[in-house]
């Protein structure tokens, strides 16, 4: 467990209160907020002004790689040792489409998952204050601030409607 990050953790019951708090914090120019929810939520995303994830690139690249691998493997392996079956061409594309397709899906899917993991690891959550209720029915907002400014943040969260505010240091 890495050393805890200093800051203030606010816990909300109401979505509108939480989003209001987020907006206020961003208006104050506070960065590095971490918002915990038990389920994906559009209002929170809007409030944070989140752009959509680059995970799609992994999917695309993986898929294309798979497709190429599929055709490459089948065609090369066919001519590597030419064996005639059923009077068909040694390397015939139509049957190989099936394999190319399956590999497209397979590698595409695996790279998508890989992508998600990598991207998530770029923003490690270790050391950030967390409360088990966030996976249940609470919305959590963690604001990383030094002790000198913590007071104002606590006040802001309370006025926004936080049911509980905790200071981490």
């Amino acid at each position: 467990m890495a050393k805890p990050v200093a800051g203030v953790l606010g816990s909300f019951v109401h979505i509108d209160a939480a989003t209001e708090a987020i907006r206020a914090l961003r208006a104050e120019g506070r960065t590095g907020l971490t918002v915990y929810t038990a389920a994906a939520n559009h209002e929170v995303e809007e409030a944070l002004g989140i752009t959509s994830s680059p995970v799609r690139l992994f999917t695309l690249i993986g898929g294309l790689t798979g497709c190429a691998a599929g055709f490459g493997m089948t065609l090369w392996m066919s001519v590597d040792w030419p064996l005639l079956v059923g009077g068909k061409p040694i390397a015939s594309v139509p049957p190989y489409v099936v394999l190319a397709f399956e590999l497209t899906i397979l590698i595409g899917a695996l790279s998508t998952v890989a992508g998600t993991l990598i991207l998530s690891l770029l923003k490690p959550t270790t050391g950030l204050a967390y409360d088990p209720s966030f996976s249940d029915d609470r919305i959590g907002i963690f604001v990383p601030v030094g002790p000198e400014q913590a007071g104002s943040v606590e006040r802001l969260l309370k006025t926004a409607g936080a049911v509980e505010v905790r200071r981490e240091d």
């Binding site: 019951v13 109401h14 979505i15 509108d16 209160a17 971490t34 918002v35 915990y36 929810t37 038990a38 389920a39 994906a40 939520n41 995303e45 989140i50 959509s52 994830s53 995970v55 799609r56 999917t59 898929g63 493997m73 089948t74 392996m77 066919s78 590597d80 040792w81 064996l83 059923g86 015939s92 049957p95 190989y96 099936v98 394999l99 397709f101 399956e102 590999l103 899906i105 397979l106 595409g108 899917a109 695996l110 998508t112 998952v113 992508g115 998600t116 998530s120 923003k123 959550t125 270790t126 950030l128 967390y130 088990p132 209720s133 966030f134 996976s135 249940d136 029915d137 919305i139 409607g161």
Partner: protein
């Protein structure tokens, strides 16, 4: 569906209640559960012993009677693959369609998919003559400098099934992560530790959600064509050959429809007892079963059409071989199997035109059993009956299954049941976070969003 959904499906619970109810299902199990599990394991052992016998003495123990070179094992293989499809349909395709009723059922069905595919994947190994060489079907560098024959539909199968298993289990695991985290936060002691690890450090931060939702969408997008391809490929094992009764262009769509039909049947068979056992009646409501029944009706009707087409085309083609094959399918030595398939699949599903039946759980359960039987027989008829009488009349022959056939069949059900039961007690069988997504959060001020 979507329009009908909102009035029918107004969430009755708060976030906290959802977490509580679902996490409660992970509690310690009762006697009934262990008796079921014991039964499943016993059935699996029967299958295992049979398999050992096959290894020792050879496939001759089964009822194979040339020209019927494939029979119960391949039938059961196709049956289980088919079962899998409903799961992916509900979890992936309906996700893309944003149909609200899938949310509650999809976790159970996705699990069913994974275990069904795990079961099916055993059969290509069980049914071959030299099971210990099954890996020769994989393209790996070897001293013979020999690669597999990619023109063979069986190799397509290998790739399709591997892909299907990998993707659908990934999909299941990905979906599980936030729920495991939720469970983790409700647990204490050693159990907490386990879920701690299983949750991969999930905290539900907005960043995690940001990538997660996207990834989930793309997985669904990939799984959708996949599920359609897998059973098409399986159908090509037959359609690519020239056996009368197999050699048909409608096979791919026909098999996919059949697969989903059988899968939904199995979903009903599983969910109806499950909701009781896990006390989740208030979550799996009439609304969900009604929709499942409609899906059954839809795919069942496609089957009805496909059956009719098969016979029509056989007649219209004026091809002696096709005509004989289908005549014997209906009136030959296997007429009983042929009619079981048509009645259980084409006709029984038509009962779902009536809402009374769609919403009557007992009726649903009984019908779902018929569907399972009917779909097993569909494959049995297509495979065995077609092979029994193909081109060379002198070579015609009828086969009768033996204990070795039934042993493996029973084993496959045991194997499937075993895994599903273990899953149902260890992981949330209802997708906590996805339900929560559909429940509006409490607000301080009215109106707003």
């Amino acid at each position: 569906m979507a329009t009908l959904a909102h009035d029918a499906h107004t969430p009755t619970q708060t976030h906290a209640e959802v977490t509580r109810d679902v996490v409660n299902t992970l509690g310690t199990a009762g006697r009934g559960y262990f008796m079921l599990l014991g039964l499943a394991v016993a059935m699996f052992l029967v299958g295992a012993v049979t398999f050992v016998a096959l290894l020792k003495y050879g496939l001759g123990l089964a009822g194979y009677t040339p020209p019927v070179m494939w029979s119960v094992y391949i039938t059961t293989f196709v049956f289980w693959i088919g079962i899998g499809h409903a799961g992916t349909l509900i979890s992936a395709i309906l996700f893309l369609f944003r149909s609200p009723w899938r949310t509650v059922v999809y976790r159970a069905t996705e699990a069913m998919t994974v275990f069904a595919v795990m079961t099916a994947a055993l059969f290509p190994i069980i049914h071959i003559g030299r099971q210990w060489f099954f890996y020769w079907l994989l393209p790996y560098p070897n001293s013979r400098y020999l690669w597999p024959n990619f023109k063979s539909p069986l190799i397509w199968d290998v790739f399709a099934i591997t892909t299907y298993f990998t993707v659908s289990s990934t999909f299941l695991v990905v979906g599980l992560v936030p729920d495991v985290a939720a469970a983790r936060d409700k647990m204490f002691g050693w159990r907490k530790k386990i879920y701690e690890i299983a949750s991969l450090g999930w905290k539900g931060t907005h960043e995690q959600w940001r990538h997660y939702t996207r990834a989930y969408l793309y997985l669904a997008a990939l799984a959708t064509p996949l599920v359609l391809s897998v059973h098409s490929v399986v159908s090509w094992d037959f359609a690519m050959s020239l056996v009368p009764g197999w050699h048909g262009t409608i096979f791919a769509p026909y098999f996919v429809a059949g697969a989903i039909y059988s899968g939904v049947g199995m979903v009903l068979t599983i969910l109806i007892p499950l909701r009781k056992a896990l006390k989740l009646e208030h979550m799996f409501t009439e609304y969900h079963f009604d929709n499942l029944a409609k899906l059954t009706l839809f795919t069942g009707s496609i089957l009805f059409y496909a059956y009719a087409m098969e016979y029509f085309v056989a007649w219209y083609s004026a091809n002696k071989f096709e005509q004989t094959s289908f005549w014997l399918r209906a009136f030959g030595p296997m007429w009983w199997a042929g009619w079981t398939m048509i009645i259980c699949n084409a006709f029984v599903s038509q009962l779902f035109w009536f809402k009374k039946i769609r919403t009557n759980l007992t009726a649903l359960f009984v019908i779902s059993i018929f569907i399972n039987i009917g779909m097993w027989f569909e494959r049995y008829v297509i495979i065995v009956s077609s092979l029994s009488n193909d081109f060379e009349p002198w070579a015609w022959g009828q086969m009768n299954p033996t204990w070795a056939d039934w042993g493996i069949l029973m084993g496959s059900f045991g194997w499937f049941g075993m895994w599903f039961l273990l899953f149902a007690r260890t992981f949330p069988v209802v997708a906590i976070q996805e339900i929560k997504e559909t429940i509006p959060w409490p607000r301080l001020r009215k109106g707003g969003h």
